[in-house]
């Protein structure tokens, strides 16, 4: 069993030599967290494990949506046995609330599989995250920082990315999610940076609240184009569903590396 992963990786590498669009997101990591076919295409197969990803709400009051998106990713990434670690500073807890067990269970993250660490200072959160990313028993490590989280600068995020890559092996992942309470322009070494806003849901047949909708803006992508999508989270099935696209122009991207469109019919 153990020898298949290197073989797969080698095959992927040689495929990437033939077709650049098949290049794996980061070298040495074969696993990805899939969201939705359209988004996965932009990400080159899905959010890569063994990497650090940043999530921030796009406006005040959207922290719930940003946490929800991170937890939805954690729910997809976590297998049957492995657990999720949530790291938050004391201040982040009072500022944005603490993860709430019954809500997590309903949302699709088993609270019995969640370990919560409260740390006194933001620097401690980074230290703990780096330590935890190397632990193979965790499927996902989420850390949250209040404000723009400026302690997580280029150096710190590079350290975290390296730890994540180190923690990733064939059957495990060093999947790190960093939640900043406010969007920031601080440079970072994370593989992707997401800006999350909630989107108006479509009410159910009786006028009640519909499925959770996220308005995702991929602001930074190290190995592909950026973009904006609206997707829904199905908390029964633990999958993302596509929602209507937003009527805005997509960001300009260089598509020269893509395969040309083929006319049909």
């Amino acid at each position: 069993m153990g020898s298949t992963a290197p073989t797969l990786n080698r095959l992927r590498q040689s495929l990437a030599g033939i077709d650049p669009s098949l290049k794996p997101a980061l070298p040495g990591c074969g696993r990805e967290v899939g969201l939705d076919p359209a988004i996965d295409a932009a990400l080159g197969g899905g959010l890569s494990c063994g990497a650090l990803h940043e999530v921030a709400p796009s406006g005040p009051g959207y922290l719930g949506a940003a946490s929800g998106f991170a937890l939805a990713l954690a729910s997809i990434a976590s297998g049957q046995r492995r657990e999720v670690l949530w790291i938050g500073t004391d201040y982040a807890g009072t500022e944005g609330g603490r993860p709430y067990g019954p809500g997590l269970d309903l949302f699709g993250v088993a609270s019995a599989k969640l370990v919560v660490l409260r740390v006194p200072k933001p620097v401690d959160a980074l230290w703990a995250m780096e330590e935890a990313l190397r632990c193979r028993a965790l499927s996902c490590v989420i850390a949250e920082l209040t404000g723009e989280g400026t302690v997580a600068d280029l150096t710190a995020t590079r350290r975290l990315s390296l730890a994540a890559r180190e923690g990733a092996s064939a059957r495990t992942s060093g999947f790190g999610l960093l939640i900043r309470h406010n969007a920031t322009a601080v440079p970072s070494a994370a593989a992707t940076r997401w800006s999350i806003a909630p989107a108006l849901s479509r009410p159910d047949a009786y006028g009640g609240l519909g499925r959770v909708r996220f308005d995702l803006s991929l602001r930074k992508n190290r190995c592909g184009p950026v973009g904006r999508w609206i997707i829904e989270w199905d908390h029964h099935e633990h999958i993302f569903l596509p929602a209507l696209p937003v009527g805005v122009a997509q960001a300009v991207v260089d598509r020269s590396g893509r395969a040309p469109l083929v006319q049909t019919g």
Binding site: P60, G61, Y62, L63, G64, A65, S67, G68, F69, L71, A72, R81, R82, E83, T94, G96, G97, R98, P99, Y100, G101, P102, G103, D105, L106, F107, S111, A112, K113, L114, V115, V116, L117, V119, D124, A128, E131, A132, C135, R136, A137, L138, R171, A197, P198, A199, L200, S201, P203, D204, G207, G208, L209, G210, R211, V212, R213, F214, D215, H235
Partner: protein
Amino acid sequence: MWLRRLSTDRVERHSSKPVETFVVVASVQSAQRIVALTDGAARLGLKAGMGLADARAMYPKLPVVEADPEADRQLLEGIADWCDCYTPLIGLDPPDGLLLDVTGCAHLFGGETALARDLVRRLAQQGLRARAAVADTVGCAWGLARYGKQGIVPAGESKAAMLSLPIAGLRVDAGIVADLKTSGLTCVADLMSRPRAPFAARFGRELLFRLDQALGHIDEPISPRQPLPAAMAEQRFADPIAREADVLGTIEKLASQLVTVLDRRGEGGRLFQVALFRADGAVHRLELGTGSPLRDPPRIRKLFEERLAVLGDACDPGFGYDTVRLSALVTERTDPMQTGLGGDDHAEELAHLIDRLGARFGLRRVTRIVPQDTHIPEYAVAAVPAHAVRTATTPLPFIEQDTLAPAQPLRLFERPQPIDVTAEVPDGPPVQFQWRRTKYRVIHAEGPERVAMEWWRDDRGSELTRDYFRVESFQGARMWLYREGLYGREVARPHWYLHGLFA
């Protein structure tokens, strides 16, 4: 062991220029009396218990220092901590004595005589005058240290050694000693040569009780200051070590010795302590607990590395440590486990991560969510230290729901946030609200979900009913609001709070 000049030694250690002769005074029964004095003062004919006025009449220029019993006690405890490098079983004997149980330890220092001599010599180097005596019983050693000539009494000869001691050496009241003296009885031999009954009738139980203790007829346990470790290992250095890497290396080496002992018993350690004995007598103790029985030296080292990193300056090596001791205070049975062929032992790896985080931040900060039997949202789950929850907790009772949106929030505020709400009276859903200076207009609201407080816990009946609403704003943000109090029935004007955030 008797520190015969504890108070004056303490003062002398801290004074810049040596003073041969001075006394320490305190108010005893509304008079200033001498409670301690130096050897020099004793030679002048002064005695403890003498009034300060009398002493001043004899020597008008006698220097005087105020007594500080608290500082004396602290010094005594410091010395007791340091004596830990001779034996783990140490009892305090205030105001100026220490009881050391050296059974089974003496041979490590080359016998009882060598141990006592070493102890006295090393204390003398630090400016503390001590007299040590070794005997079969606490009472005998106590008497010999203070009144005896002979330091070491071989096993079984304590009775003979006691005979020549004065009665005061039996730890009895000064009143009894004085009474016996008037009867012409001055030493223990006088007591033992006479029938016991009259003494009991005249002086009560105490005298004979103390005599029996000293002779070993009645057992007298020493109550140790520190818990006795289940197993320990220690390393001494001729040259003190100060570098952190050296200390950690020593800890790992000691851990492998300790683990050998634990392995033989089929146990693993749950609570470890490292005692670092600094060359100048200070002792640093680092304790750490683990989530599961541990017997892996590199992991033990790693945990202490975290702990040392946090302590930083609080654990200043100064001139270096000359003894390092690792003890397992609490152990637990653990059966050897067959490791899987795959080599992926997730549970163990996670346990180790939790221990490491706990060593760094405190075990209370690493928690798991454990459901509680209540429907009040803020009490519905408790954060229990993860090391106390052995396996993954029992899953929360699954709330069957067929709604498209989860009924409970993802994040909950510990203190509900007060908000300004526009809502229909008496019990309509919110239409608009303001939180943290941002206005939200509500487009969808679901509710109310009524949560009545638990009357069986609410003695004063002051808790108000809550009506929870799930609301979605025009931007799509979802929040959990509640109205506290029923309009008109419980309160005239209910307050609104924001309690949680949905995705």
